[in-house]
């Protein structure tokens, strides 16, 4: 569905059920260059189990009006405008979305019931080659993102949805964004420095999902994130690359289900 935030059209899928804010809310945030479809094997599941779901497109991504936002902090404030009067939110985030979640959780801790962080560190420094490519040669940058982002299963075009190639699908999603979206995302990640201050301020239960074959988030960065959070639940999916929601959707969904069902049960 589309709705207006700060005068701009924003898109979110509701997982196939009308959004009913009397139900516990689950919000999904995508990573750099991606869109809401990265969560399509999780969002629909929660929508059909009595949760009110919003899987968002950040500004400038697929169905949401641009321009793309330029900092993690502005994305956190934008998210606060999106959720408006909603509280008791279970926030689920992937990669760049995790930085937005950390910042949102530190600024608006009272709004959250739980937070699930999938493949993230406290910060996400981006190498100069990728930053340069995102600005000058988006197609090369997309190839780097999907090349490094997906693990062995992605590169072998395997996947849990029969007939679908997740690595090609990811490429097409990135091509469908506004031309400067990926560069804006990567610059925002690279510039974000507030993770160490933000993480300890989060009050809600936090879950961290780690991918064993993640080449985009060094394990050291994830360990640092875990160290700054208050007793997070940590789970590792050994065979997945960075794009866990697509590469290991069933394991990811099972972990989210266990965590969200227990922290924010739906009747």
């Amino acid at each position: 569905m589309h709705f207006e935030v700060n005068g701009k059209q924003v898109f979110a899928t509701t997982g196939g059920k009308p959004f009913d804010n009397s139900r516990p809310v689950v919000i999904f945030l995508h990573g750099s260059g991606f869109d809401h479809t990265v969560w399509n094997l999780q969002s629909r599941f929660f929508a059909f189990r009595n949760y009110a779901v919003l899987a968002l497109d950040l500004p400038g991504h697929t169905h949401s009006e641009g321009p793309p936002l330029e900092s993690i902090e502005s994305m956190a404030d934008w998210l606060n405008d999106v959720v408006n009067a909603l509280d008791n939110i279970s926030l689920v985030a992937h990669s760049q979305g995790c930085l937005v979640a950390l910042e949102f959780g530190s600024r608006y801790p009272e709004r959250l019931r739980s937070m699930s962080l999938v493949t993230s560190g406290l910060a996400t420094p981006v190498n100069d080659v990728l930053l340069g490519a995102a600005k000058e040669d988006p197609e090369a940058a997309i190839a780097m993102m999907t090349g490094w982002g997906f693990g062995p299963a992605g590169h072998l075009h395997q996947g849990p949805i029969p007939g679908n190639s997740m690595v090609t699908g990811g490429t097409k999603v990135m091509r469908g964004n506004t031309p400067d979206a990926l560069a804006a995302d990567l610059n925002a990640c690279n510039s974000y420095r507030n993770g160490k201050q933000a993480a300890p301020r989060i009050r809600c239960p936090v879950q961290v999902i780690v991918a064993g074959k993640d080449r985009m988030t060094p394990r050291k960065a994830t360990d640092e994130l875990i160290a700054h959070l208050h007793k997070p639940e940590v789970a590792v999916i050994p065979e997945s690359g960075h794009i866990v929601p697509q590469e290991a959707p069933n394991q990811c969904r099972a972990l989210l289900r266990q965590f969200i069902f227990s922290n924010s049960p739906a009747t």
Partner: protein
């Protein structure tokens, strides 16, 4: 594995998870109709498209799934759906987005089955077609109507072998927000990946070069994932709620694979032209050697083009690799590895000479197929295109003396020796 795998590697590995229990290296043949669910929640999740998985082999099957993902990988598509035949693929792809009152713009130079589908069958369902000369891009543009929802063609036209100008036709589609669907059977993704030039959907008869062995019928639809189904409002089957799956909006939920998902959710379920696991396995064996075979097909084709061009009993030879062919420049652009292994030529002496040639070839098989490992010959006017009328025959560039040759993988010296026998028998009609 951090870099994209190349074509030959994908031909062997894409889509397959090595059997976790027994370690079988080959893709197992899952000869089963149905699948045991671990619990009711998993079952309902699969039926409701909340998770991937298999419920019933009419809709998905693990062996067929390997083939689908392999072809999607080779084509650079976001998803693929296999069907029982190439014609089933074409029908399912068209009817996924068109219905009563809609219109197709299609090339005149296509397989007779495609022409018959659009000329005779689809009108019964309220879908009409305007055909255009594939060598005339403006004719394509001028054929577009307010209700046109699809542009359709074959990259290498059958049997005239005119090459469709993919980029020019794709630009027309983009201008009018109409998807461009290409029957890529004759080129295979080894010779040309049509999505790289703006096509939005490809369909294949896998029976031909992709399988290569001539032992299994099958088709596939590949979703390029590069068409905006949402902006125009013309494709409600993709962008509006779909009642049988709790009102799912496929465009919103599946994005670049929305079109393929519609085919899976509707055509495979409600019509059911599914591929058998055994055929999927056989076709996978063929695809493992696709590049090797296509290179040999092309090498033999070039040798036979020289042989036929120099033969005194051959009145004309038609192939896009020949500088004399009107599509030669387009062939160089889109098909630099070779413009396919179909050759047409005229035998001096007309219909009777052509018939004598075919009947006296012993190695080359006289049958209605193309793309086999074995060399095939046929007389289109009396076989593959026999059920289309004279005007359409002429429009397709078919003459009575035409022999269509599908060049195989035999030693080319043996093919020439066989043809020499055919020409000797045809000589009395020259």
């Amino acid at each position: 594995m951090s870099r994209f795998l190349n074509f030959d590697t994908l031909s062997l590995h894409a889509g397959q998870v090595v059997d976790p229990e027994f370690g079988a290296r080959a893709a197992p043949i899952y000869q089963t109709t149905s699948y045991v669910f671990p619990d009711t929640d998993t079952a309902s999740s699969i039926f409701n498209l909340e998770r991937g998985g298999h419920a019933y082999s009419r809709i998905t099957n693990p062996t067929v799934g390997v083939l689908e993902q392999r072809v999607a990988a080779l084509e650079g598509g976001s998803a693929a759906v296999c069907t029982s035949s190439g014609m089933a693929a074409t029908f399912c792809a068209i009817t996924a987005i068109l219905g009563q009152g809609d219109h197709i713009v299609a090339s005149t130079q296509m397989y007779g089955g495609n022409i018959s589908l659009m000329k005779n069958t689809l009108p019964r369902f309220g879908i009409t077609t305007t055909f255009f000369d594939p060598t005339d891009v403006n004719a394509c543009r001028e054929a577009i109507q307010d209700n046109t929802k699809l542009i359709y063609g074959e990259l290498i036209g059958n049997p005239g072998l005119d090459i469709l100008d993919l980029e020019a036709i794709a630009a027309i589609g983009e201008e009018h927000n109409i998807p461009f669907m290409v029957d890529a059977t004759f080129n295979t993704p080894y010779l040309c990946r049509c999505f790289d030039y703006g096509a939005n959907v490809t369909v294949h008869s896998l029976t031909k070069w992709m399988g290569g062995h001539g032992v299994a019928i099958g088709g596939v639809i590949v979703d390029g994932g590069n068409f905006d189904w949402g902006t125009s409002g013309k494709y409600p089957t993709i962008t509006e709620p779909y009642a049988p799956f709790s009102g799912i909006n496929l465009w919103e939920e599946f994005g670049p694979s929305a079109f393929a998902t519609r085919i899976r959710a509707e055509a495979m379920r409600d019509i059911g032209p599914s591929m058998s696991p055994m055929n999927a396995f056989l076709l996978l064996q063929g695809i493992e050697t696709l590049s090797l075979r296509m290179d040999k097909h092309m090498a033999n084709t070039m040798e036979l083009l020289d042989y036929l061009s120099d033969h005194e009993q051959v009145s004309w030879v038609n192939h896009p690799s020949l500088p004399s062919h009107s599509s030669h420049e387009l062939a160089k652009k889109y098909l630099p590895k070779g413009a396919g292994s179909i050759v047409s030529f005229g035998v001096k002496g007309g219909r009777e000479a052509g018939k004598a040639f075919i009947e006296n070839c012993e190695l080359a098989s006289h049958l209605a197929n193309v793309g086999d490992a074995k060399t095939l010959v046929i007389h289109p006017a009396t076989t593959t295109h026999s059920r289309i009328d004279a005007d359409a025959l002429a429009a397709a560039g078919i003459t009575e003396d035409m022999v269509r040759l599908s060049v195989g993988l035999e030693d080319v010296a043996d093919i020439k020796a066989d043809f020499n026998n055919g020409f000797r028998a045809a000589k009395r009609f020259a």
